[in-house]
Amino acid sequence: MKPITSYLDLRRRQIGADPPSSALAALSALVAVLVVSPMAWLVWQAATVEPARAYELILSSQTALVTANSVALMLAVTALSLLLGVPLAVLTTRTDLPYSRLWTVVAALPLVIPSYIGAIAFVGMFGPGGEVDTLFGATLPRVDGLRGAVFIVTLYTYPYVFLTTRAALLSTDGSLAEAARTLNASRLDAFRRVTLPQIRPGIAAGALLAALYAISDFGTPAFMGANVFTSTIYWEFSGFAVEYAALLALQLVAIVAVVLVIEAGIGRDQDASGGTDRGQPIRLGAWTWPAMGFVSALGVLTLVVPVAIFTGWLVRSVGDPIPSLAFQPEFALNSVYFALLAAFVACAFALPVAYYSGRTNSLASRVIERATYVGFAVPGVVIGLALVFLGTRTLPSLYRQGVWLLVFAYVVRFLPQAVGTVRSSVLQIDDSTLEAARTLDAGPIETFRRVTLPLIMPGVVAGGILVFLTTMKELPMTLMLQPVGTNTLVIAIWEAQNALAYRYAAVPALLLILISGLTMVVMLRQEGYGVT
């Protein structure tokens, strides 16, 4: 058991031991430049707006309103995700909750469902004219506007916090908290003063992803009629005023930059405690049933409701067939193919950045790591258009030939999910291990390949799977950049919804949940992330 105060020493030693080479720094910088490059298009577009008009746009009361709404959405979703995600993570890792494997899967699975599909299902179940209304003549209070968006986005975003907090809990030493208990600290006190500081970086990492997802989401706020920043960007797009949209998107980036700097402060001093002793599980006693009831209720709301609604659409097909919307197996294959490619490339991009920033504590490494998060906060349609421009100007003959540009687009948006998880596992490498390898005359590359890589592999796989899952449910960039005529599961759902023929959305939606769900289970079985 290590005294907490030794962490800083450990960290210093780590950094001193094996200073990353300048080649690694250059590689990381290259990745950062690549994924931030679409922002150049935004700046270039925004610069064409007349100064007076730009001033007017930025300072208009409408912009002020949507900024306030977006920030409120982001803060509320983040806070609620913390309230759901952290206790659930503690519940499934540190208590004697029965069937904790099952509850872990239930708590993580909502991440695989696109939130706007969750919204449609929720209204279809509980809204007026929905299933509950038809069966029992009752409807829930109207869920719409900003509150509705907060509610739905939280339900499908909190798993970010759950997963990262869970990973942090699994990799920190539970016996520390027990020691605190022997010193007469109450359980809550021990959690607050010992465990929480240990897992704080993990929590912050998940909270950041939830926050960025919330502020960049368009589909759910639009469905709920919430007037947020992304609505304004889309509004300008719909009037073909791309330069206004670009200017507004830059403003969004500025807000996000503030968030990134703040989070950098909270998430700092990520420690390397590698203890696996989780200590005695907390006994729930009388709380066992309420705890299981709570997770079940959440699972019903986030998982059972959409699946039930989609199945309902499927079995109640009454209209004339619409052959053009018929399901084809290649939709699923395409989705999986795109998502796998995105996952692999994202991991390859994430490795240098995560390794560099995990083992160097310089301003440059912080900036490079933070820079990879920017794309996650920009709406997909904006990144998509930027890459349309850049792709046609750099490699016109390859534009929309193959999937390279689409995969790059996914990486631009979803890279931070891989950077975050890989970086956490880099931080957990005990420095003495690497020193041992070096004393055995292993060169830096051999050390990385034979020692470091195996150690961080769980983090790499987890990051890859997160990218896989978010790519599976991505819509706007896929519609824009996929090889012409290639359909995916989410495109099929979108087309069915456009046609108001929801029965054709059922099979792709159920398959999306099935494939993503199985992938999620694989992820949770990963060592270090494991369902234990």
Binding site: F223, F240, S324, V388, L500
Partner: protein, 409 residues
């Protein structure tokens, strides 16, 4: 009224078959006001085969307007696919229309011609336009198939589309296409009033849809619509409606209408046409009972459930029943101009028109193909006539008007 293809000594005659079609089909609503020269102004891209100025300048591609005539004149009452030449090769189409609406006609063409492959890219209409603008001439698209003239005009403004063959241009009444033939409407529809028939009778002072006002301006002033009306302001169709209202009623009145809808009627705003129609049909306490939108959404719901409560009404001879078109523009740089020209001809031929009339309940734009369907005839609705490519107020200003009056989503 008929228009033949004579009297243009400097111009080659394209699509002789359509010459026959033009004679047979006739082209009402298309008075010969500019001397039979629809490409008469200086921007004309189709003129004289002298090549093009701002399109197709890489030489290899060639222009669609110069596509070879096809076949011999056919003396029939309507041009049919069988009168047109074979379509062979590969076409790439960017579509802002939805798959369920237009895929059937593409499939029918592919079934008809073994050598034809049509690759279609579907996305939201406005996204397609933005994407085409960013792509410039590097676009893989041969054509843009849009549901909205405003989108096609935006492509014209960016110099991204080229002139259509004169026979195609001549086949379509001028108000349904670009005056210089830079895009053409293919099918038409009117704006409509969607309503939930059950709720209208039970919960409002209207007994039935027959009692709804026939003037769009009243929807903003009649107190009976307060709190129960909705619209979707972010569509090209709605902007066209606003542009039309400005032209018919004046800008101040239009601003007043928008403001009254927002402030007095507390209009519910949707960002998706499907969501709006769904809500009208669903009929929950907070859902709108009446909504302004395109008629085909109701048709889709009724296809899924013939007993659904959603129904349609139309205003008369004002912006509320604006007749607008879905249509195509040909991108500057196409691989096979003959194929593209032939494809557009097929859309405007009798089968193409009837196909979309049946599938989508849309109105034909080529005179002589009679509308058969459940919607009222255009004579009944009597929509005002507009030059859809040239409203007094341009699209940007219409968008700004909505932003300024607070009708945004």
């Amino acid at each position: 009224m008929r228009r033949a293809t004579h009297g243009r000594p400097n111009r080659r005659r394209f699509l002789l078959a359509t010459g026959a079609a033009v004679t047979g089909v006739g082209l009402a609503g298309c008075a010969d006001e500019n001397g039979g020269d629809p490409t008469g102004n200086g921007d004309a891209l189709a003129d004289d085969g002298t090549g093009s100025d701002d399109h197709g300048d890489d030489g290899g591609a060639g222009s669609v307007a110069d596509a070879e005539p096809m076949g011999e004149p056919v003396d029939s009452t309507a041009v049919s696919w069988s009168d047109l030449g074979e379509l062979e090769g590969e076409l790439t189409i960017y579509s802002g229309r939805t798959r369920d609406q237009i895929d059937p006609v593409f499939v029918a063409l592919e079934d008809e011609y073994d050598g034809l492959t049509i690759n279609v890219d579907y996305d939201d209409n406005d996204v397609q336009v933005n994407q085409l603008v960013q792509e410039g001439d590097a676009t893989p698209a041969d054509l843009m198939y849009s549901q909205d003239p405003g989108a096609l005009n935006a492509l014209v403004d960016e110099g991204l589309v080229q002139g259509l063959p004169t026979d195609v241009v001549d086949a379509v009444p001028e108000s349904y296409r670009h005056p210089d033939g830079l895009w053409t409407g293919v099918t038409g529809r009117t704006r409509s009033i969607q309503f939930n028939a059950d709720r209208l009778a039970d919960e409002t002072d209207f007994e039935s849809g027959d009692e709804l006002p026939t003037e769009i301006m009243e929807f903003a002033t009649d107190e009976r619509f307060r709190g129960i009306i909705a619209t979707r302001p972010n569509s090209g169709s709605f902007r066209g409606f606003i542009q039309a209202m400005v032209e018919l009623e004046g800008e101040e009145e239009t601003r007043g209408w928008v403001r009254a809808m927002v402030d007095d009627q507390d209009v519910q705003l949707f960002s998706g046409g499907s969501d709006q129609a769904d809500a009208v049909n669903r009929g929950g306490d907070d859902d709108p009972i009446v909504a302004l939108g395109n008629s085909y959404y109701a048709a889709r719901i009724l296809n899924e459930d013939p007993d659904a409560p959603i129904d349609l009404a139309f205003t008369e001879n004002d912006a509320g029943c604006l007749f607008s078109v879905a249509g195509v523009g040909v991108m500057n740089d196409v691989d096979d101009p003959e194929l593209v020209a032939g494809f557009v001809r097929h859309l405007l031929a009798a089968e193409g028109q009837e196909f979309m009339m049946d599938a989508n309940g849309e109105y034909p734009v080529v005179e002589g193909v009679d509308y058969v369907g459940e919607l009222p005839n255009l004579e009944e609705i009597n929509p005002p006539e507009f030059d859809l490519s040239d409203f007094d107020m341009d699209l940007r200003d219409a968008q700004d008007l909505l932003t300024e009056e607070g009708m945004t989503v």
